[in-house]
């Protein structure tokens, strides 16, 4: 419809910082801290302090919606249960495991003998048992997506990584292109889908070439090159670009399931070797880091150790005037302390100096924010509705559609924290609607 065509916005990616370095492994931290929280659910701990733990052993369980187990990422002894800083910006309970560096595997980790004969139900069961969740940021339990009743014809692997600075998915697919394709193949099987698509930004030429050379072995899989705009990695945008269809709430309405590339890699390990979700790739980058790098680490590693391993902060970094961001620079969260642990959805940690404080003029009402909004909202109207506490108007303006991409604040010439205002308006609406 006219005037409702989202264009997105090109943002300088600054990806070369961490991209030129190869993926580093850091598999044996002295301690790991497995957080006892997943999305908004508190996990039930099933091990006690002093227990001997093997890699892949279940240490906690999520109950209720999205019930699934969580696994130890190293072997050793449970030394404590204590509070640690988490990517959500709060302190959460975590199981501390002292690593014995022996990498003793649990019995369940063994190569699968009849990979090709697994049925759809068996594959979905594997996702649940291995605790597979989305690794793009929302950390949604993957098996719930695949239990959908609607027919699925396409699986899309989201390898777009539209957030600036981040390179973890790119390096992961560069290092394990075969695993991405295998994971996608198993995903297609788990949904009875006939088509598989890998969505990736056009400028990642070397990764696309790698995929293309492997594609002949994987019938039904194609590459979709995406434009270099933000938010090209948004689920709805990818689905629209790939299938031409749109949906209201879930991609399955359009016959599509979208998974992150890291999820696909984890799934291929799961299917072939029964390895549960115990590691991920994380980008340590930003102007405040001496040598930005990507690490393959067990879940629960301390980020401070990784930063030390990259070579630490740049010399003139003033922490009180720098941001320490968990997640991408557009949607992430500023954490006040660098003592963070790696969790499933944490794709990156960015350290960058704060821009200079300046006096900013008032909102001049130019309307750039509503021009760029990918869901066609008018943030200024939502802001004024929030300021006069008009909950009905917030609802009418469809504020709940906002996905917090941050573009409105990004383009604002007057430096208004407009994304934050919309988020507050959403909170107010949620409370008021109840």
């Amino acid at each position: 419809m006219i005037l409702r065509k989202a264009k997105g916005k090109h943002i300088d990616g600054r990806k070369q910082m961490s991209r030129c370095q190869p993926l580093q492994e850091y598999l044996n931290p002295s301690h790991v801290y497995l957080p006892l929280v997943h999305q908004n659910a508190v996990l039930k701990r099933v091990v006690e302090v002093g227990d001997d733990i093997l890699v892949g052993q279940v240490v906690a369980e999520r109950e209720g919606f999205g019930a699934m187990p969580f696994h130890a990422s190293v072997s050793g002894k449970v030394s404590a249960v204590k509070k640690v800083w988490h990517a959500s910006g709060k302190m959460v309970e975590a199981i501390e495991i002292e690593n014995d560096n022996l990498n003793r595997l649990s019995e369940s980790i063994k190569p699968e003998t009849n990979v090709d004969n697994l049925t759809r139900e068996q594959l979905i069961k594997k996702m649940q048992d291995a605790g597979l969740c989305g690794m793009g940021g929302a950390s949604f339990p993957t098996y719930v997506k695949y239990q959908t009743k609607s027919p699925i014809d396409t699986i899309i692997i989201n390898d777009v990584e539209c957030e600036p600075y981040l390179t973890c998915d790119c390096l992961l697919s560069q290092t394990f292109p075969e695993k991405v394709l295998k994971g996608l193949k198993y995903f297609m099987k788990a949904a009875n889908a006939t088509k598989g698509v890998i969505a990736i930004k056009y400028y990642n030429r070397n990764v696309i070439d790698l995929f293309n050379s492997l594609l002949p072995n994987y019938p039904g899989i194609a590459i979709q090159e995406m434009k270099d705009i933000y938010p090209a990695g948004w689920e709805k945008y990818i689905v629209e670009q790939v299938s031409g269809k749109t949906y209201d709430k879930l991609p399955s309405e359009a016959g599509v399931i979208v998974n992150n590339a890291a999820t696909a890699v984890a799934f291929s390990d799961m299917v072939e070797n029964n390895i549960p979700l115990i590691s991920r790739v994380i980008t340590i980058t930003g102007e405040g880091i001496k040598q930005p790098q990507n690490f393959l680490v067990p879940i629960g590693t301390k980020v401070a150790e990784l930063i030390a391993k990259t070579g630490g902060y740049v010399d003139n970094l003033d922490p009180a005037k720098s941001w320490y961001i968990a997640g991408g620079p557009m949607t992430g969260r500023a954490i006040l302390i660098d003592d963070l642990i790696v969790d499933y959805p944490l794709g990156s940690v960015i350290v960058m100096p704060m821009p200079e404080e300046k006096d900013h003029p008032e909102c001049l009402g130019c309307g750039r924010c509503s021009d760029v909004c990918p869901v066609f909202l008018t943030p200024t109207s939502i802001k004024s509705a929030y300021e006069r506490k008009d909950i009905a108007a917030i609802g009418k303006l469809n504020a709940m559609k906002c996905m917090g991409c941050g573009l409105c604040s990004y383009v604002c010439p007057s430096h208004v924290e407009i994304t934050d205002f919309v988020a507050k308006a959403k909170d107010m609406y949620r409370k008021g609607a109840k």
Binding site: M330, L336, I350, L364, G367, K401, Y410, V411, P413
Partner: protein
């Protein structure tokens, strides 16, 4: 363990990366005024001097007059800051505040839409009404409901319009000598004679080419469509204004005047061209209908706003008592900015659904209704066939 600073997502801002910030936008806006100011100076100063109708000091008068407008309004805003805020007593603090509230803009615009021989104290009055009443009393930059320049202009128009006429008014020293100018301005002629004919409307001023170049009587900045077009291209290229708003506004006026012309028995393209080239339409469309603070914020709202402006301008121009309809329609639409913004924001966020189609339909009907009324009414005014549409309207 280092302690870091807090902040709100997103942590990247185009402003910090050398992108467009408000100051740059306003700077580019001022640059966009330069062609218009230069033409006003050329037409009313340099050209007159070349003709030998004034002295060299009088040649500088138009330029000085325009700049004076900007200076007066800056002074007044500084005075308001000193009076209202006890902490801004140092010159530096005041300058900083004036810088952030872009005080120079309304004054320049007021001077540009006034005729050349407006007495200075009338200009001061206009700047007072514009910056102090129209802007600062509403809370300053970003909070004003009405376009400050228009508030100043209309205040002058309602109070001192006769005075301006007595002191020389719209004609510069060279134009006074031309006998064929019946009314002061082409639109004045239209309001006086209420007929659509080339001979009375265009012929006294030469051809439509003169209208385009701007060598016709009028207020300082408004006459030259060419200079305004140059500004328009600059401002759109720098993304200071949205190109669509002026185009839709002027286009609406063009089409409606064409319909009026055809219905009154003259189907030539000269009448719609005359309509868009005369008066302050071009100036208002480029510099005022796009003024961000007082116009709707979302793209759909901007289009509806421009459409309504066009319809209202035709209505006020053809039927109203005053020759000029642009300023009045802009002020009227300033009032309706908030509802238009609200309704179009809802329509845009939801699409045309059960919830919103009634509102969309009502909005469309209002536009069509006013347009139809304007056309039929003015046709009845201008046509020789009395009761063209049965005289119902």
């Amino acid at each position: 363990m280092a302690r870091f600073a807090g902040g709100k997502a997103p942590f990247l801002r185009s402003v910090d990366q050398g992108g467009q910030d408000t100051k740059k936008i306003m700077r580019d806006f001022l640059i966009g005024l330069i062609p218009v100011i230069l033409f006003a100076w050329y037409k009313n100063g340099i050209q007159v001097y070349i003709n030998g109708d004034c002295t060299i000091w009088e040649m500088l008068y138009p330029l000085a007059f325009i700049l004076l407008g900007g200076i007066i309004s800056m002074l007044m805003e500084g005075l308001v800051f000193v009076i209202t805020d006890k902490e801004t007593r140092s010159l530096k603090a005041i300058m900083q505040k004036i810088n952030l509230s872009f005080a120079v803009v309304p004054g320049l615009l007021i001077a540009l839409i006034l005729p050349m021989y407006t007495p200075i104290w009338v200009l001061v009055f206009g700047c007072f009404m514009g910056t102090v009443v129209g802007k600062m009393l509403f809370g300053g930059f970003g909070h004003n409901i009405f376009n400050p320049a228009l508030v100043g202009y209309l205040a002058i128009g309602f109070t001192f319009s006769g005075l301006i006429g007595n002191s020389g008014g719209y004609l510069n020293p060279s134009e006074v000598l031309v006998d064929s100018y019946a009314g002061a301005t082409p639109l004045g002629t239209l309001a006086m004679f209420k007929t659509i004919s080339w001979d009375t409307l265009v012929a006294p001023y030469g051809t439509l080419w003169n209208f385009f170049l701007g060598t016709i009587p009028g207020s300082l900045g408004e006459t030259s469509a060419l200079a305004i077009l140059v500004s328009f291209i600059w401002l759109s290229a720098r993304k200071v204004i949205k190109w669509s708003t002026p185009v839709i506004y002027v286009g609406t006026v063009f089409i409606l005047s064409w319909i009026i012309g055809i219905a009154s028995g003259d189907s030539g393209l000269w009448f719609p061209s005359y309509s868009i080239l005369s008066g302050g339409l071009m100036f208002g469309a480029v510099f005022m209908a796009t003024e961000p603070v007082t116009t709707p914020k979302n793209p759909l709202g901007k289009i509806i706003y421009a459409l309504l402006l066009g319809v209202l301008t035709v209505l006020f121009r053809m039927i109203g008592n005053y020759p000029e309809g642009v300023a009045t329609s802009l002020i009227v639409m300033n009032i309706f900015t908030i509802p238009v913004d609200q309704v179009t924001a809802e329509i845009r966020a939801n699409g045309i659904t059960k919830k919103t189609w009634v509102k969309a339909a009502v909005m469309l009907l209002i536009i069509l209704g006013i347009g139809f009324y304007a056309v039929t009414k003015s046709v009845n005014t201008y046509t020789i066939f009395v009761g063209f549409f049965g005289g119902v309207m």
